[in-house]
Amino acid sequence: MNFEFAEEQELLREQARGFLSENCPGSAVRAVLDGEADYDAELWRKVAEMGWTATVIPEEFGGLGLSYLELVVIAEELGRSVAPIPFSSSVYLATEALLANGTLAQKEKWLPLLASGEAIGTFALAEGNGRPSVSSLSTRMTDDGLTGRKIPVPDGRAANFAIVVGATDSGDGASLYLVELDQEGVSQEVVRTLDFSRGHSVMVFNGAKAELLGGDGAGWSAMTALLDRAAVLFAWEQVGLADAALEQARDYAMGRYAFGRAIASYQAIKHKLAAMYVKNTLARSNCYYGAWALDSGSAELPLAAATARVGAIQASVFAAEENIQTHGGMGFTWEFDCQFYYRRAKLLSVGIGSEGYWQDRLVTAYEQTNVA
């Protein structure tokens, strides 16, 4: 047993942190937040050049064939820097969906493009308010092609293709479809979200050409498995973000004086930050477990993933909220970067299922692991 990253992984972390502090400073996040672009295309190009999009894709498909332990290191650093790029959609969701469910032809077509960053993929599940279920899906394949409406779709306008969850009459009631977005049957409009450093859209399918990804009627279970995997990667981003928010709060508290002394010397502030540290640390330790389960293909993945995800949601949202509180009025300004963490923490927290979804999933997985 060994509960640490290997030396190469620590080196990768150092390199990633250095790269992002240079190429993704607060001003880069702000540029997307303030501007019209859906994402930072220049950063995306550089990230792809670094090979990050290729991390776990096997070499035969143009990837680097590295492990998930490398990918989680990158995820943590991207979370820490609140990177305004479609990495989670393309790498944690679309790439994973293809790796798990694609035919050889589908993999041969898409994985090399995903690895090089030339293609961006996304994942379209939500169709509006409330927790998605098989019976709530109205998107489905018809004789004329795929019809339906997905909202919100993260990085939809940045993407070349989407993995779409649609209803079907067979099997578990759902299928995954791979849909190329540059076609007549697909239209998109911008949807404003609370984190517009990441573009979102409403995606309408009107007789769109679509191909099955995986078996017809095997989509719901494929999606559940996909979310388990993505949960670990999202959790690492969230933990990176949570630590960055804690550091920002600490640095500000050390330098801000009130009543003749640093606010960092007031116990109400100290205990608040200690609580952040505790949540972050427990979340991180659970993320180690998740990373290992993901990488080793362990049967414990559903439990490990949900545990990592719930802890990471709680830690990141708490850190982002209390970071603003620690800054006082300054924290509530557009000008200060506290808002980046606040926006992104909440976006990531609902992104692949809320805290409630994952709490329920955790107990279900616990029941399957321990009670069966």
Binding site: M254, V310, D360, V363
Partner: protein, 403 residues
Amino acid sequence: MDFTDTQEEAAFRAEAAAWLKDNVPSQDELQGMNELEIAKMWQQRKYDAGWACIRWDKAFGGRNASAIEQVIWNQEESKYDVPGGFFVIGQGMAAPTLMTWGRPEHHERYLPKLASGEEIWCQLFSEPAGGSDLAALRTKAERDGDHWIVNGQKIWTSGAHYSDFGIVVVRTDPNVPKHKGLSYFFLDMKSPGVEIKPIRQLTGGANFNEVYFTDVRIPDSQRLGEVGQGWQVALTTLMNERAAIGGGGGGVNVDTAYRIASEVMIDDKPAIEDGAVRAKLANWYVQESGLRFTGYRSMTAMSRGEIPGPENSIGKLVGAPKNQEMASFCMDLLEMSGAIWDEKLSKEAGLLQLSYMGSPGLRIAGGTDEIMANIIAERVLGMPQEPRMDKGIPFTEVPTGNN
């Protein structure tokens, strides 16, 4: 990163498991024995077979095991309901302090008997005037040739009544700032002038005591560290205390809560089907597993030679309130019957009520929640102390209150 055993670790685990299977005493064997007798018998049995204090040097009864082997042993031993609490202070706190600050003859004389459970140690730190603010203690020691004469009072001393030795911090110079006037000793609890009076706890039990010292003579050879260096030596003990206590152990965990929630009903359906119940269990599971893996991570760090640091405060800071909340919540699930505390009538034989009544003590003993949060803020995050009224002035001039 690898959460599974290497070949050697698997072999070690199998060896440990096999030994435990053959040697954990049966209920029959324990007939008529009290808890202390059972604990001593179990400890001696482990010692004789080389399974006591396994990380210690072979010469002192250990087996030079690695930190990871310690994790494995703990996992395997915790599958059985065997006692160990009596030895936590001696093995987990006094022993590492002896190892760091004691002389070879101390090691040879005391460590093996600590490992075998033959001798039990207690911790005489807290006083009426000094708990969180330990360095405010007043018990004084005056030099008399190659002895020290100790007068004063300790309080909250767990297990003093069954202990053979104690570690004690005393004031040897009241005229210097308070942290500089302390010295650290260990003493025989049977020394003339030591008087032990049990204190009844809110649980009804009486595990902690007042300990009075009247002209107690401690040989200078039982001093650890220099005269005036007692605070530094005490910090070694306290650092190890945090690692030793960890999450507080025992009590109500997710497995217990899950069992109860599956058995009791809310609106004619098992409580576990209720979304709010599931959410709470999930949160506690996250804490439990987070603590476990945080512990493992610091074990990996220790196996590289790092000493347990202030981050170990997390265990108690999370574990103790969690225990209290879980016990409270599980009693709520029982509705009106949650109040019944009777081994025959209560679910889980009264474990919930016992845990609930005991957990305020967990949140105070070994450093309160607030002190743990201070430690994390100051020692881990590097935030400044609050302004203090007791710095840089002689101990005798430090302000005091009337409680």
